[in-house]
């Protein structure tokens, strides 16, 4: 049977990461150049091989292209159907449709704050995606930040299913445990359940350790055509993608406290023969803990409402557990690379190159997810 999904079979041929840290003072351009050069070299390519660039956020494409000596024929990236992963999926589709051969995708962040509507360095405001247009009336209610909106989801989840903070705390503890094995992670000292429960409240029931850690850094990948796999040392293949933008906004979904992640996951599973039981590791977005819980349920790793018991005790999600989760330390402990560290780590694990934190038994299938609220994207990657 002919597979008509254009993204399937695209490969991630290279990955790269800049220095990552808190308040580094390093410019976004310098960080972008670091990660991009590393990814291109990792793919076994040179700058002249790159004919496409996609990104979202800091460091405009024109600036990156000039700094790296690239002259792309194809460019892409904005907040679209796949949320923050849209530039990556755009790149899959560009190589799949033979619009480009090798696309550099990068994501650079400079200690983004927690506000909903960001100001750019030139003082203009970032365009609010259509799916986020309900934000203004929510801001009216002094509900200024994602932890406010997600805390309400979590409170409803606790009410419906009896979920406890003691269950959720295992997400934070697991992330910190994994971050200890990741030299690039922002926070590496172990934490206990008591630390989690006693951390200062941000927006009940979300405390400080339910929130991710802002960092400076850049992560890049090179996306190439399937036929490049033979020439590539460690190709990671795209099996399926899913996305969702907009349905129900922040407070209107009939199935609240579900979020767009439910729709994105459904779209992804429709596009593959793989099942949740085939997944060897999960790198799930954790800007705030509740987002990860929503992904666990959306992706079918547990039933609706059962993410609390799924996390309890932390053994199921440990590196040697049945579903190793956020193996690099997550945004909760490693740092907020805004959805791209999950992609980098999934590739590293599938390549068997994750060092001390390598998931045992040569994992073959990884799921990567990004976002929540009204915008979400996810993908299945295979070795």
């Amino acid at each position: 049977m002919t597979d008509e999904r254009v993204e399937r079979g695209a490969i991630v041929s290279g990955i790269g990461m800049s220095r990552i840290g808190r308040k580094t003072g390093i410019s976004d351009v310098e960080l972008t150049v670091e990660s991009a050069k590393a990814a291109i070299a990792d793919a076994g390519l040179s700058a002249s091989d790159i004919d496409g660039i996609a990104t979202i956020g800091d460091t405009p494409i024109a600036v990156a292209a000039e700094q790296l000596g690239l002259s792309p024929d194809w460019t892409g990236g904005s907040m679209g159907h796949y949320g923050l992963l849209t530039p990556v999926v755009d790149a899959f589709q560009a190589v799949g449709s033979r619009t480009a051969r090798h696309v550099l995708v990068y994501r650079t962040v400079n200690m983004m704050g927690g506000e909903a509507i960001q100001e750019r360095s030139d003082g203009t405001q970032m365009e609010v995606p259509p799916a986020m247009r309900d934000i203004t009336r929510i801001l009216t209610m002094h509900a200024y930040s994602a932890p406010n909106w997600l805390a309400m989801h979590l409170r409803r989840h606790m009410h419906l299913y009896g979920t406890t903070r003691e269950q959720i705390g295992w997400l934070a503890i697991n992330s910190r445990r994994n971050a200890a094995l990741n030299p690039s992670a922002a926070y590496r000292d172990p934490i206990t359940m008591e630390d989690y429960l006693s951390a200062r409240m941000i927006s009940e029931p979300l405390g400080l350790l339910d929130c991710d850690v802002p960092v400076d850094g850049s992560i890049a990948v090179v996306v190439s055509r399937p036929e490049h796999a033979g020439a590539c040392e460690h190709p990671v293949r795209v099996d399926a993608v899913g996305g969702s933008d907009g349905a129900g906004g922040w407070d209107q979904r009939p199935d609240y406290p579900k979020m767009a992640s439910a729709d994105a996951a459904r779209e992804m599973w429709h596009a593959t023969d793989l099942r949740p039981t085939d997944v060897d590791l999960a790198e799930l977005y954790d800007g705030f803990t509740y987002l990860t819980m929503a992904w666990l349920e959306a992706l079918g790793f547990c039933a609706d409402g059962e993410s609390g018991p799924f996390l309890e005790g932390g053994s199921r999600i440990a590196l040697d557990g049945e579903l190793p989760l956020n193996t690099y330390g997550g945004q909760l402990s490693a740092g907020r690379m805004h959805g791209y560290w999950v992609l980098h780590e999934a590739c590293l694990q599938l390549r068997g190159e994750a060092g001390e934190r390598q998931v045992p038994g040569m994992p073959e299938v990884a799921v990567v997810s990004n976002g929540g609220g009204p915008i979400a994207g996810c993908m299945l990657l295979t070795r």
């Binding site: 203004t136 801001l139 002094h142 989801h153 409170r155 927006s203 009940e204 209107q252």
Partner: protein, 137 residues
């Protein structure tokens, strides 16, 4: 005198104006589609189901707390913490709900399903619908 912190007010248009200004007469008002017999939120003058016209009418202003959070972080230093943000579901219709604040009660007294009634906080021409515990419920 209590200083009321300024709120970000959404741009008013024909669809949402009565929702944000109805409080001037003490009424919470929402568009209603007579054909589908349903209230519409976010406010639209065209029914999302039948595309027919919707007409503003008053609702009871009573509802229940669907979910809530006690915010402790001073995201806006002008708003004293802690305070309660909630989604309130109105009595008129299942799923008819929006994000608001719960006021006039201790922050730790709010629970899911708690009966509440609308009160308005004036900000220039706009009357922001907030909710307080409903003593008649």
């Amino acid at each position: 005198m209590t200083v009321v912190a300024a709120r970000i007010i959404p741009p008013l248009d024909d669809d949402n104006r009565e929702f944000w200004t109805g409080g001037a007469t003490g009424q919470l008002r929402l568009p209603f589609c007579a054909t589908c017999s349903r209230w519409i939120f976010p406010p639209l003058l065209r029914c999302p189901d039948c595309s027919g016209p919707a007409v503003y009418a008053p609702v009871s202003g009573k509802g229940r707390v669907f979910t809530y959070t006690v915010n402790h972080h001073p995201f806006n230093p002008e708003v004293p913490v802690p305070y309660v943000i909630a989604i309130v579901e109105l009595a008129e219709q299942e799923g008819l709900r929006f994000t608001t604040d719960i006021v006039s009660c201790p922050v730790d007294s709010v629970t899911i399903d708690m009966p509440v009634r609308v009160v308005f906080e004036q900000q220039a021409d706009v009357f922001v619908p907030l909710f307080e515990p409903d003593p008649e419920a």
